[in-house]
Symmetry: D2
Subunit: 403 residues, 4 copies
């Protein structure tokens, strides 16, 4: 069926919005749907029309009721040299954003980092989690369930891993609240962000728990995972990649490039990022880590809602004799280089630009490297912003660049 015919049948009430792909190819379905919505709302939606990815892939894997695409400007910052556990060498960082001044800010920070010969980065922990909640009849029964789980981690691993060719169960951590038992499953999901893989594997493991114990499954996610909510469990224990980037800037670089001093930056970081965040009851002790995470996530096809956990970051700055030591530690950066939005053409291109498209060798190394590169970008953003206000330039920069 062509778009025109689909549209007519939509308007006649013979088809529902979500049924179009059953009767036509994706392009026609998208066009018909957009035209139908345009008609219903009286709004010309031509700006949503162009898209540079394969509609059939998008409608199968990424979106339903598609009517087109939204476009976000993409800039680059860098180049910067990263000495990582997985990342190595020089790269440009792609950033998709609508916030003026952000790319410029990161670029300025990367330039200072590059003057220091680049930044160091390491993934210090890795694991995607899913935590189903079960109900039992009371604490005595909860105890027996937890004992069974502790004694049967191997069987849970077999069950979980039967659903996946890549994933590996690393741990099962039990938490009890009254008649609720939460089991936090932790997986190595290699180059996939892994939420999907972890969910499917956990469903299988949860079936085993239900079969072998009196526990009854309530929900595959009991919010102790924790996915897409600001939660201390992620800030403390990590989720996805736990990654730190750091650098020592020579005193001269701080003075010449950043127009301030190591001492002023260390003090400014303490007063704003540490004490201000402490008083705010915050889980994020940084200046703008989420800005860089969000822009890099969008550029590379990550899950945009996981920016939430990406903001669980602590920035440190310390004046040393030779200059400024600065670091940013992101507790829960959930990234992948396969699956999700990474397969769409523009996002794929952004990953290729980083040399990190697809699965890594060894498996997991591409996602590790992506985490390290984003951490270096976040570090650049911190350096730039803290330096800026140390010279009281924040607001003027905003004004000029329309941020």
């Amino acid at each position: 069926m062509h778009a025109e015919e689909l549209l007519e049948r939509l308007q006649a009430g013979e088809l529902r919005l979500y049924e179009l792909e059953d009767h036509a190819d994706a392009e026609a379905a998208v066009e018909a749907r957009r035209r139908y919505i345009a008609g219903e709302t009286g709004v010309a939606l031509s700006a949503l029309e162009p898209y540079a990815f394969d509609a059939s892939r998008a409608t199968e894997k990424n979106v339903e009721n598609m009517i087109g695409a939204v476009q976000v400007p993409l800039g680059v910052a860098g180049p910067v040299t990263v000495d990582g556990g997985a990342a190595a060498g020089e790269c440009f960082l792609p950033l998709a954003t609508t916030e003026g001044a952000l790319v410029a800010s990161v670029n300025r920070g990367l330039s200072a980092i590059e003057d220091a010969g680049g930044a160091t980065a390491r993934v210090t922990q890795s694991g995607m989690t899913r935590a189903p909640v079960f109900t039992v009849d009371g604490i005595a029964e909860a105890e027996t369930v937890v004992e069974w789980v502790d004694a049967n981690v191997d069987r849970l691993g077999e069950a979980a891993e039967s659903t996946t060719s890549h994933g590996e169960l690393l741990a099962v951590d039990p938490y009890v609240v009254g008649d609720n038992v939460y089991l936090r499953f932790v997986y190595d999901t290699k180059d996939a962000m892994g939420m999907n893989m972890a969910t499917i594997a956990t469903r299988e493991a949860a079936s085993l728990v239900e079969h072998e114990t009196p526990a009854k499954l309530v929900a595959l996610s009991g919010n102790l995972c924790t996915d897409k909510k600001p939660a201390a469990i992620n800030a403390v224990e990590g989720r996805g990649r736990t990654v730190t980037a750091d650098v020592v800037l020579d005193r001269e670089v701080v003075e010449a490039t950043l127009k301030t001093t190591p001492e002023a930056m260390a003090e400014g970081n303490t007063r704003k990022n540490l004490l201000g965040s402490a008083k705010a009851g915050s889980l994020g002790f940084n200046a703008q880590a989420a800005n860089v995470v969000a822009a890099a996530f969008l550029a590379t096809g990550q899950d945009e809602a996981q920016v939430v956990e990406g903001a669980n970051a602590i920035t440190t700055m310390d004046a040393r004799e030779e200059g400024l030591y600065a670091s940013v530690s992101l507790a829960s950066l959930e990234v992948g280089t396969v699956g999700g939005g990474t397969g769409l053409a523009p996002q794929q291109a952004a990953l290729e630009l980083l040399g990190l498209a697809g699965g890594g060798d060894p498996p997991g190394s591409n996602a590790d490297a992506l985490a390290e590169v984003i951490a270096v970008g976040a570090l650049a953003g911190e350096l730039s912003l803290v330096a800026a206000f140390c010279a009281r330039h924040l607001a003027s920069a905003h004004e000029q660049l329309g941020r």
Copy 2:
């Protein structure tokens, strides 16, 4: 200068990446820069090439070092009827995402809501904040600064409002930590998200504080704002719009459309969203509010990093005799219908689709309405997901739809 010439001068080292717009129009600059990066990295970047917005606007206001655009699939959910304080009537909700099953999930929830005649929504509080940090010589001096501020809110208001034709200073809340004084300025920024307006206005007010008291400005943001970090101050006191959407679903709708019961959903909500989040040390007591916030933010040109605060949401479900009462209360939803990314053509079209592009009448009403519509979308996501796991459909839905 044409793109070709720019590219040659880039390659010759005669121009820097960020200088191109000084020598050519935006389109040529973007093209040259993309081709340069493609050459440097050896990657074909053609998938980044097409964009449906005005490059000169984007490079002036939204991005630096632009090399193209990233495209995100856009779907619609609805229609749904919203009985809001500002929003009224029926609308489709545009959602940009790469997470399969999300639009379908929201759509299913909206369908249940529509069966109930639509949802109610209200913005219960509104105010954009900026909290500079000042340093004093000790607590005795801090006390005199705070006393001066309390006695001079009017003068601070005059100073702040001298920088803006729209903004209005609502309050100045002081916080003291040792020799640091944080002043949290709260503004009515009408239809703008307002971070920029608040920053500029606060700079002026901060100058007055510096002039009249011994306090010295350290940074225009002292992290008590709190912008783009998960912070209790926002979850408790709000930032941007504080908005609630709710609905009562008839028992029959819950059973027929959602395939479960009000009692099961209320219990599931408690065990997962309340108790699970409590045990996780979370500020978000919901199932997937961030998913809807992120997708709606991306569709309508909001600041993607502010999804962080958007996740500060509490979902309640209560079995009443007539059926299920469900609500979602978002403490800090930072939205605007003017400024930022809202002016790009696709994002503008998404706002038009909602009837909410540009400034509202009265001022602020469009942003209020946008907040209310997103809250209804979030409510739909909660209903759908909680209902799904109550019927144990979560994982299978994921598997089928590739989520």
Copy 3:
């Protein structure tokens, strides 16, 4: 009736444990009850027998089913000079504790402070809160309730203040979560800690809300107060007294008395109290503020369970040219000099030792001064402990002193 007879009737099942005071004076009742419990459990309880306070007062106001008293060793630290908003001059700080090394630690800190001529302290905010929760039928009704409250703060004040000769309603802050409306009432309760006064006053105000709006009271405390739970709302907004103490120690004092340097202490404070607490997801950014709060609370008859909120404290240390600036800011220190346990003879004596027993002139000044003195004690504990580990003495001190 004498103790002997009471005991017999208890054993005969003719009286219940809690009925004894109805039939005899307090001393006899306590004795009979203790002997009865000793008989039932086969344990000699003579160590619980002696008490130095008036049993009839205690059984009327402080305890039920009394069987005797627990005794806690009381030490003194100081003297120290306090330059406060309310406190002035030199005092000894009474501390009741069973933790070896604590009094010595505070004493050492106070000695360093005294070398600097004493500490400065200020109460920067004051207010006891009670936050009832009401239920409404939905968000639309919640909006009307909040509007009524905002328009009728005067009437609420009249109602609340009709129940008290001292208390004063300062503010009513509304919070909405779905169909729940929380109203946080803030009171000036003068020299009383005020929880009781606030509860009674709020009950009256809540009746007015119920009478004039559709809201129905669920509970007089809706946990947004927040009493005796670790809650961000108290750490951010304060409860009871918000108080800071600070001092500048000469470089020589740090080196001679504390055996370290300002730079080492500032760095140690950042790594432990700021970064460590940040990573722990803490609301307390200090070393041992709760130790001092708990010991001073116990000595002076405060509510021992409110040590919870007393731990919401941030310690800062900053190396200045002249030496070390150190401060501790306690967000929510709930203290009184009248009511509660302050009227028992030993506790009263401890308050007299501070010159702060009973109501102050002006009202509230004694409780303010007590808060300031405790803050100075907490500052001493921070200085001493941070200095100790900077010289790696922590564990050896513990070992020697049995802590």
Copy 4:
């Protein structure tokens, strides 16, 4: 030397306050010190004079600069039957408090629990923690330190356990923030609360880390322990005993004894303890757990400042067909039956009253049982208070009983 002579030498400036025990027995030292302070302050301190414990033990292990004792009224609640993992049978709960109505409230709750045949309780996790902070030169070095630690847990265990005859190292969990490495050591400390044992053992293990890796110890506590601060890490991962108590009350009991319904209590618990605490940004989702913890701690010689962590508790209430399921889960209850204040005569008597004085058989079982009994007491407090407000009796109870 007699007290009189000590006093004279104090007044002559020949002795310092803390030196008295070096020259006389404890009783004389305490008397002289008290008389000296009385003289200096002009306050009669006779109410502080009597104490029912051994002064020499107290001055050696529990306090410095002792001048007497503070006395706190002690009541009992119960009896109640506990079906615990370690606790078994019927007991009275000793509670030391100055808050009127508290013992009565717990007593009422225990009575309802006893009508149900008693409560069930289980310690689901146990471990005392100490987390030193080390500094390294950057993230690359941090990675090597963490790798060394992971590979040498056995050697760390040997080192730690060389300092103690009872303690056992259970785990070492590393956390990295920039150039800081925190190692959270977890110990089984049997019947001791164990903070002291853990500190000394960790010092030895930390020496090994310093010897074998480039890490330098900053402080034996890096605040990730977390001791005496409200911290998510304890609420999530536990510290001391993680313990739950629960009960099912027959519908008739709820109606007859508590004067309300299971449905009303479940709803009240959700609106106050879950939603109210959620909105407050709290780590405590309960009504008054800290009240019971504080009073039981004081009665049994626990560390009064650890009430802070004791407040990390979640209360659940669920209406079942047969009645009300209620539970309280305390994440971090730090208790011991040996060491600290447990050896003072009155506190010892209170432990004997529970049958839990001294070390248990097997070791650790007495502390486990104490945790379970306190949890049951906390459950009673929750039941009583929630029932009370469900019948709107809270304020009147307060008024009558002087709370």
